[in-house]
C-alpha cells in the first residue's frame, strides 16, 4: 500500500500553510520559460512537474542572498547594536532531490566549531518536500555523485508523480509525516522506479597542480552564475549597509569566481587569474570539502552548466580532468 495525494491536495496543503501565516516556496514560472524557486503567495503558482530543474537552488531559503546580522545606530560617539534574527515562521519548500541533498552537506560548514544560528534557525523551521524526478537533461549528473532522481538526503518527504495529477507520498522524517498527516489516501498505486541520468563521469582525483585548470577553464568569464545557482556554494561577504548614523551589517552571497574575493590589502592576490579561481571552485567541491567534512560539495544538479554563458560547468571540468588523467597514464 502507498499513500497518495492529488495535485489539488498539494495546493490545499500549501494554501493551509499560507493561511496560517507560514511561508511556502517552490518551483514557479517567474516569466515565460523561466522557472525558479520562489517564495509564493498563492498555491496556484507552484509547479510540481513538467520541468527538469529550476534556474536557481533552494539554498536562499536557508542562507539568503542578503541577511541582516545586526543593526547599528550611532548616538554621539556611542554605538548601539541590535541583533537581527531570521523571521520566526515555518517554511514549506518544494524542491528537486539534488537541491534538498545539499542541505545535510551545508550543515557541516555552518556548524563546525561554531554554529551559524541564522542558518540553523531556518533549517529547523523548514519542511522540505522533494519532487522526485521523472526526466533529466544533458546537464543532470546526480547519479555520478552518488545521488539519484529520488534521493532522500535532506528531504522530509518525497513525492513521486504517478500521472493523472496524483503523487505518491513517502515521508522520511517526523516533519514530513506531520505535513502530510490527514492529507493522503491509501492506494495500491506505487511509483515506477526511474533510473535517472546515466553515469556521465567517474569522479576523478582532483589535483591542485594540473595543466587542466588553464586548459579547461580559460573560457570562464568570472561571472559567478555557477556559484549563485549552485545548491552547495556558500561563500559570503560581510558588509555594512548604511551610513555613519545607522544601518546594518549584512552577510551577502559572494563567489570565489570574482577577482576581488581574495585580493589582499597589499595588492597581492593568490588567485589572480580566472583558471586559479575555477580551480578553487572545483578543488573545494571535490577535495577540500570532503577532506574537511566528508561529503563532496556537489549534488550533480547541473545548474552550473545550464547557467554558464561560456559552456563550462562542473561536469565539463570533471570530464576534462578525467581525460587529462587518461592522457597521463603510464604507457
Amino acid at each position: 500500500m502507498s499513500r497518495i495525494i492529488t495535485e489539488a491536495g498539494l495546493r490545499e496543503l500549501a494554501e493551509a500553510w499560507l493561511r496560517d501565516g507560514q511561508a511556502v516556496a517552490g518551483p514557479s514560472e517567474v516569466k515565460l520559460g523561466l522557472i525558479q524557486y520562489r517564495p509564493i503567495t498563492a498555491a496556484a503558482r507552484l509547479l510540481f512537474d513538467g520541468f527538469v530543474h529550476p534556474a536557481n537552488s533552494i539554498k536562499e531559503f536557508f542562507f539568503p542572498r542578503h541577511e541582516p546580522l545586526y543593526r547599528y545606530r550611532l548616538e554621539g560617539s556611542r554605538v548601539v547594536l541590535e541583533d537581527c534574527e531570521p523571521p520566526a515562521v515555518k517554511q514549506l519548500v518544494f524542491a528537486r532531490p539534488c537541491d534538498a541533498a545539499a542541505l545535510p552537506v551545508l550543515d557541516h560548514v555552518f556548524n563546525w566549531d561554531c554554529a551559524d544560528e541564522f542558518y540553523n534557525r531556518r533549517r529547523e523551521a523548514t519542511t522540505v518536500v522533494t519532487l522526485a524526478c521523472s526526466r533529466y537533461d544533458d546537464e543532470c549528473f546526480c547519479t555520478s555523485v552518488g545521488l539519484g532522481p529520488a534521493a532522500e538526503q535532506g528531504a522530509d518527504a518525497v513525492l513521486f508523480a504517478l500521472g493523472g495529477g496524483a503523487f505518491e507520498v513517502r515521508p522520511t522524517t517526523a516533519k514530513g509525516d506531520a505535513a502530510f498527516a490527514d492529507r493522503t489516501e491509501e492506494s495500491d498505486r506505487t511509483a515506477t522506479p526511474f533510473a535517472g541520468p546515466p553515469r556521465r563521469v567517474a569522479l576523478p582525483r582532483v589535483e591542485f597542480d594540473s595543466p587542466v585548470w588553464e586548459d579547461a577553464t580559460l573560457e570562464c568569464l568570472g561571472c559567478g552564475a555557477c556559484a549563485y545557482t549552485c545548491p552547495t556554494c556558500h561563500c559570503f561577504d560581510i558588509v555594512d549597509e548604511g551610513n555613519a548614523a545607522g544601518g546594518m551589517r549584512a552577510k551577502n552571497w559572494d563567489s570565489c569566481q570574482f577577482s576581488l574575493f581574495t585580493l589582499h590589502a597589499s595588492g597581492h592576490n593568490p588567485r589572480h587569474a580566472q583558471p586559479r579561481r575555477q580551480r578553487q571552485r572545483i578543488y573545494h567541491k571535490f577535495h577540500i570539502y570532503p577532506e574537511k567534512f566528508g561529503p563532496i560539495l556537489c549534488t550533480g544538479c547541473g545548474n552550473c552548466a545550464r547557467q554558464c554563458p561560456a559552456g563550462l560547468g562542473v561536469l565539463n571540468v570533471l570530464k576534462a580532468i578525467e581525460a587529462s588523467h587518461a592522457e597521463h597514464l603510464p604507457a
Binding site: Y70, F110, C114, I238, D240, G242, P270
Partner: protein
Amino acid sequence: MRNIYRPELMQVIDARRQTPDVKSVRARFLDPAAGRDFSFRVGQFGIFSAFGYGESTFNICSSSNWRDHIEFCFRKTGRVTEALWEIDEGDTIGFRGPYGNWYPMEEWEGKNLIFLGGGIAMPPIRCAIWYALENRERFGEITIVYGARTVADLVYVDELDKWAAGPGVRVIRCVDPGGETPGWTGEIGFVPMVFERAGVPAGNSVALVIGPPVMIKYTLPVLDRMGIAPQDIYTSLENRMKCGLGKCGRCNAGECYVCKEGPVFTMEQLSRLPTDY
C-alpha cells in the same frame, strides 16, 4: 539566539600615527565583564570594525599579558581602514575574536629567538617580542631585525630602543637603499642581506619571519644557510578574511582554512600546502 557575527564594542583609548599611512590603536572593552572574560594568545587576530564602513582583519599586536587593553595597527589602504584612520580617543569600534592559532611560545622556551620583520609586519611580531621580554628568563638570546622602505615607514620606533635596552637583546634596524635620512644610524640594505651580514649565531634558534612575500622569499635561503630547519621557521599568513570563523570560504590554502588552522605556520607546514596564499 547566539549571533557569532556580532562584535563586542570597544572604546578607543589611544590612536597614534606611526607613519604617514600607518596608525596604531589601543582599545578597551566597553563592557567590563567582556574585558574580564577576554584572553588571547600572541599571534591570534581580531576582526575590527568601523560601523558604517565594515570589518578588517588585524593581528592583536599587544602582549597577551596586558589585561587593560588590546592594540592593533593598520595601514590606510581601503574603505574600512580609511574610516578607522579617522577614529580618535573615545570613539567606539567593534571587535570579534580572538581568532586563529598562535605562536607556540611555550615550545620556544629555552631557545634563542630571531624576529625578522618588514614594514607593516612589525605589529604581529611586536606582540611576541613583548611577551618574550616579559618572560625574559624563559628565552635565550633575542635578535630583532626590522626593516622598512624608508625611515619614515618604520613603526613602533620608540619601542625599538626599549627592546634594545633589554638584557641579551640585539635590535638591528635597516632601511632600503635610498630610504635613509642624513641622521640615520641604522643599517642600509634589505632585511635578508642585513640579517646575513649580522652573523647571528643560529644554534638552538627559532625564527619568526613576517613581511612582504619578496622579503620572505629572500630570507628563507639565509635561514637555510644558517642551518635553521623549516620546522623552526614560523610566519603568519595574511590571506583575506571576512568571517574569521571558517565559513565564508575565502582564506583557504587547499584544505587549510587560514582563519582556523592559521594564521601561524611553520615553513615546513607551508611546504605541504598548496601555494594559495
